[in-house]
């Protein structure tokens, strides 16, 4: 829903002639920070952790990877595994079974620093259906509106992210960040629809992920930094990692469904 509201504000801004251009702003170079992206999924899947250092803002080289960290994943039952380095800043543990409802802890030790994080894996939510319906022009041009539907469990707070791939290309621009919660839709059939219209032959894959509130907070504040810098003061996303690193540790469930639009 927030996408619609932001669109009419955009339409509004369009009426007033405005100019956008790239400018040269002098920026300081802060000390490089540790950046950790860690994800564990429900079911049998690979646990993936990425560790890098931040760079100065205008730098063109990719961020330097950290390959010498000790990464340990444990859970509330006491099980604990080290995740081995796979090079280029990645740490992979294949064939790991993630259990819904379980609490996971991550610890990363590098250069004398220890970073820890905790995430709770939620119950999996399946996409019930993906539909394509023809629509006349309204906000968008005429075409097929493609939406995924899923049922939100009543009585519990749920947090979702929708990731979509169009014609085999992962939509990964900052503007594609799609986050939902059930604040107004508890217990209802929720709909994730894409803010564009499609043509027959387009292939769209939806992935619905669930996460806990802290990880959701990270992604919504990340969204503010990427897409809403007009707020009073942008600030680093609220990380669930303790110790001073940037990034997040998320325990997700994932459900996918694909549709090919037909006439």
């Amino acid at each position: 829903m927030s996408k619609r509201l932001s669109l009419f504000v955009a339409f509004f801004a369009l009426i007033f002639s405005s100019c956008e251009k790239v400018v040269d702003i002098d920026l300081d170079d802060a000390d490089p920070q540790y950046v950790i992206e860690a994800e564990v999924y429900e079911g049998v899947d690979t646990v993936e952790v990425q560790i890098f250092r931040s760079t100065d803002y205008y730098g063109k080289s990719p961020q330097p990877p950290i390959d010498h960290a000790v990464v340990i994943l444990s859970d509330e039952t006491g099980d604990s595994t080290q995740i081995p380095a796979a090079g280029q800043g990645r740490y992979l543990l294949p064939d790991f079974t993630g259990v819904a409802g379980r609490r996971y802890d991550l610890s990363v030790t590098v250069d004398g620093k220890i970073f820890t994080a905790r995430a709770v894996m939620q119950q999996p939510i399946q996409i019930d259906s993906v539909t394509a319906e023809f629509r006349k022009a309204d906000f968008r041009s005429e075409g097929y509106e493609v939406a995924a539907r899923f049922t939100d469990p009543a009585g519990v707070q749920n947090f979702y992210r929708v990731i979509y791939t169009i014609n085999d290309t992962l939509q990964n621009e900052p503007g594609d960040l799609y986050l939902l919660n059930d604040k107004f839709t508890d217990g209802k059939v929720m709909k994730a629809d894409l803010f564009r219209r499609f043509l027959p032959g387009d292939k769209i894959e939806f992935e619905l992920r669930t996460m806990d509130e802290k990880v959701f907070d990270f992604f919504t504040t990340l969204n503010d930094v990427l897409n809403n810098q007009e707020g009073p003061a942008p600030s680093n996303p609220n990380t669930n990692i303790q110790g001073g690193a940037l990034g997040y540790f998320g325990a997700f469930t994932s459900s996918r469904k694909t549709i090919i639009v037909t006439d």
Partner: protein
């Protein structure tokens, strides 16, 4: 042993009232002879004894107490012919006087004010008075003359953003300005997201912005009072005036209800950007709406020699709609009923009943959903003010004010079979009250004192649900309160003191101190004013803001009051300031109080104003050097940081030049160094996206801002009763792309590259308005 100090204290308090034998009072009203409007601040003095005088109050009432005898009284108001009245004053007498405006001579463009030397002689400092007629030719965005935009060109006042009607006064926040229209508070003073203010200057008589040294009769906001008075309407004959412009048109109709006894004025304004949308071939645009309107109505009637009643109302609304899918409207409605009563020749009373409502509504229709979101704040206010003038050296004001606030922060209603749930946030109620007393005292020829005390209180009450939170903002408990049951009470004393010492006829020094409590706070998620900003009351979680301000200045007039110069320095201490946790959810959040963090601030600066009030060239030059800093434990690691509105240098030059009887040129030039801003000092990748990395808050500056506006008024026809003119204006005449926002993002074509992108809102914006009066 403490007898003596008590005795002195009593004498000091009662000194103004100690009657002198055989004194008699002459009182009455001073009005404009052409249309019957009250002349606020007009003065009456005894010929030959200019130190003995009185000034007309906000309703044109004056009272002058003298020993019995024969006098020649001189009535004066700058811009009007002065008038002498010879009287033999033996008993209390009523003498109503009308002054005629001077016929305008090219070399004598005068701004209507009370005393020509008021810059130097008035004890009141830190105030900027604006005559709405004077600003007719100040060029503003879209050609719509706008008092708020014009006030943003004066020292100590900064615009909240390009084209934004929000403003900051002396480093204070945008919600610290009390905006009053005929005594009714206006909660959202801007249209169209801030590009226009709600004030149609055709309907206005007087605008005073108090930046400090606020008289004790005002309270409730920390940084300023913008006191806007509407005209009463011509009580001698009918008249209409208005203008047709590119974006909006306006019409004002006024006239007598009963000649010389009562009058009315109705003033309306509407934009019609959406009429152009109807010409579009696109169905979606055809069904869209985009307009705002303002309607000011006022009537007044003299019931008897001692009684006068006023009824005034303001209704304004912004309407935005897109193709029947989205509708968004918001606006203020205010109503005031006032009763002036002359209790005696020395005591004047005003009783006001005020109603104010601000609400917004969003309607969404899509995919068979029918959703309405509403929010409102409503005030009912009873205000009683007395003015007691025992002798020419003292004017005592006292009174009280009670406001009942009702907040409905949000309701979300769906109809039919919806995939959304209806919700309603708990309402809030409060009772805000104050009593005050103040004396404006002329101690000697040189020394003037204005001293007063205001006590204000705020009772946050039910029926409502109140929450408590831990240090992290998580809810600990909740409790339901019954209607009128007190949840929290706050109160405090607000001393208001000012002094003026006149060095000689043309210069004086002044100093003041005042304290202001603010019990209502505006939570805003963006730097630009948004209609969805929410007003919240002080509560068991939110303490009232307390602002202490010291100011001192040197005031000098040159060339027989042609030039007014003032240099003022101020220092402000702000307590209990509010900010938000990172990622705070302000919209539709029942537990919004858990998202707030608290801290303090300081603001200080020096303001220079050079104002030319008479002659073919009029206008002013304003320069402000200032800082505004904040300090919160939860922000910036507890280190002090510049507030968003911290702009160190701020210059404005406003000039209006009468080329000849038919042409008037005007120009503004504004320059200010950039506001404090938060920019990244690094970057990193998350999920393949480049993310800016921030270190300290507001550690950078936006680029410097400057622009030139030009205006031309061409009077095609002017007689005593009618006038026709064309106004051409060009906003941002040299088309500089001033940064409105600077954002940091990855390059569209090459995601590995990141860049800074500037959005500039307006380059050249020309505007034409046709004005008429008959």
């Amino acid at each position: 042993m403490f007898y003596k100090p008590v005795q002195y204290l009593l004498m000091l308090l009662l000194m103004p009232v100690m009657a002198m034998a055989q004194n008699v009072t002459v009182s009455g009203t001073i009005k404009d002879a052409a249309n019957g409007e009250d002349l606020i601040g007009a003065i009456v003095t005894v010929k030959g004894q200019t130190t003995k005088g009185a000034a007309a109050n906000a309703y044109g009432f004056y009272s002058l107490t003298l020993p019995a005898g024969d006098y020649t009284l001189v009535y004066q108001y700058v811009g009007y012919s002065s008038r002498e009245e010879v009287i033999s004053l033996q008993k209390n007498t009523t003498l109503n006087v009308s002054l005629s405006p001077v016929s305008r001579n090219l070399d004598e463009v005068v701004v209507r004010t009370e005393r020509a030397d008021r810059n130097v002689s008035a004890t009141q400092m830190s105030v900027f008075r604006l005559d709405p007629k004077q600003i007719e030719s100040v060029p503003v965005l879209f050609g719509e003359k706008d008092i708020i935009k014009t006030l943003q060109l004066t020292p100590g006042v900064k615009a909240a953003g390009e084209g934004n009607a929000g403003f900051f006064v002396r480093g204070g926040a945008a919600d610290q300005n009390l905006i009053l229209l005929d005594e009714a508070p206006v909660y959202n003073a801007s249209h169209l997201l801030g590009f226009f203010s709600v004030f149609n200057s055709d309907a206005l008589k007087d605008v005073s912005l108090y930046k400090g040294a606020m008289p004790a009769e005002f309270g409730g906001r920390g940084s300023s009072v913008m006191d806007v008075k509407m005209r009463d309407g011509n009580n001698k004959e009918f008249s209409a005036s208005g203008g047709i412009g590119l974006i909006a048109s306006r019409l004002t109709v006024e006239g007598p209800i009963v000649k010389d006894k009562g009058s009315f004025i109705i003033s309306g304004r509407r934009t019609y950007a959406d009429l152009f949308l109807k010409l579009s071939s696109d169905e979606r645009l055809k069904n869209s709406k985009l307009y705002f309107y303002d309607l000011n109505v006022k009537g007044n009637y003299q019931l008897s020699a001692k009684d006068r009643i006023f009824v005034s109302g303001y209704f304004g609304r912004d309407v935005f709609g897109f193709n029947d899918l989205v509708g968004f409207d918001w606006g203020n409605a205010t109503g005031t009923l006032r009763w002036n009563h002359v209790l005696s020749s020395k005591i004047f009373s005003n009783t006001s009943f005020i109603f104010s409502n601000y609400n917004y509504r969003v309607k969404l229709f899509f995919d068979d959903e029918d959703i309405t979101i509403k929010s409102s704040i409503q005030d009912l206010n009873l205000k009683q003010d007395f003015t007691f003038i025992p002798n020419p050296n003292n004017t005592i004001k006292f009174g009280f004010n009670i406001i009942h606030h009702t907040f409905k922060p949000g309701s979300f209603q769906v109809s039919g079979n919806s995939s959304f749930n209806s919700q309603e946030l708990t309402g809030r109620k409060a009772l805000e009250g104050a009593v005050y007393v103040q004396n404006d005292m002329q101690v000697s020829d040189r020394l003037g004192l204005q001293y007063g005390l205001r006590y204000s209180g705020f009772n946050f009450m039910g029926d409502a649900t109140a929450y408590t939170f831990d240090a992290k903002g998580n809810k600990i408990s909740e409790r339901k309160y019954k209607d009128w049951e007190s949840i929290t009470y706050y109160g405090g004393l607000e001393p208001r003191v000012a002094a003026k010492y006149q060095l000689n006829n043309v210069s004086s020094v002044k100093a003041s101190y005042n304290r202001n409590y603010q019990y209502m706070h505006l939570l805003s998620n963006s730097t630009t004013a948004s209609p969805t900003d929410i007003w919240v009351p002080s509560s068991n979680n939110v303490k009232p803001q307390i602002v202490d301000q010291f100011s001192a200045g040197y005031f000098r007039n040159f060339k027989d009051n042609m030039f007014e110069v003032s240099v003022e320095a101020y220092y402000k201490d702000l307590k209990n300031q509010i900010d938000y946790k990172n990622g705070a959810e302000l919209i539709f959040n029942e537990l919004v109080e858990g998202e707030l963090v608290y801290g303090k601030g300081t603001a200080y600066g020096v303001e220079l104003l050079i104002r030319k009030q008479t002659g073919r060239l009029t206008g002013w030059l304003s320069y402000t050097l200032s800082r505004s800093l904040r300090n919160f434990n939860d922000i910036n690691n507890g280190d002090a940081y510049p507030a968003r509105q911290d702009r160190i240098h701020d210059i404005a030059i406003v000039a209006m030049y009468d080329l000849n009887k038919k042409l008037k040129l005007s120009a503004n030039w504004i320059y200010y160094t950039g506001s404090a801003a938060t920019f990244p000092s690094g970057k990193y990748t998350i999920n393949g996206m480049q993310v800016p990395y921030y270190t300290e808050r507001n550690g950078y500056r936006m680029p410097n801002y400057h622009r030139l506006d030009l205006g031309l008024t061409w009077i095609t026809r002017k007689t005593e009763k009618t006038e026709r003119s064309w106004n051409f204006s060009l906003y941002n005449a040299y088309g500089r792309q001033n940064a409105y926002t600077i954002s940091f993002r990855q390059n569209e074509d090459n995601p590995a590259q990141t860049e800074a992108v500037q959005v500039a809102l307006f380059t050249w914006v020309p505007s034409i308005t046709y004005n008429f009066k008959f």
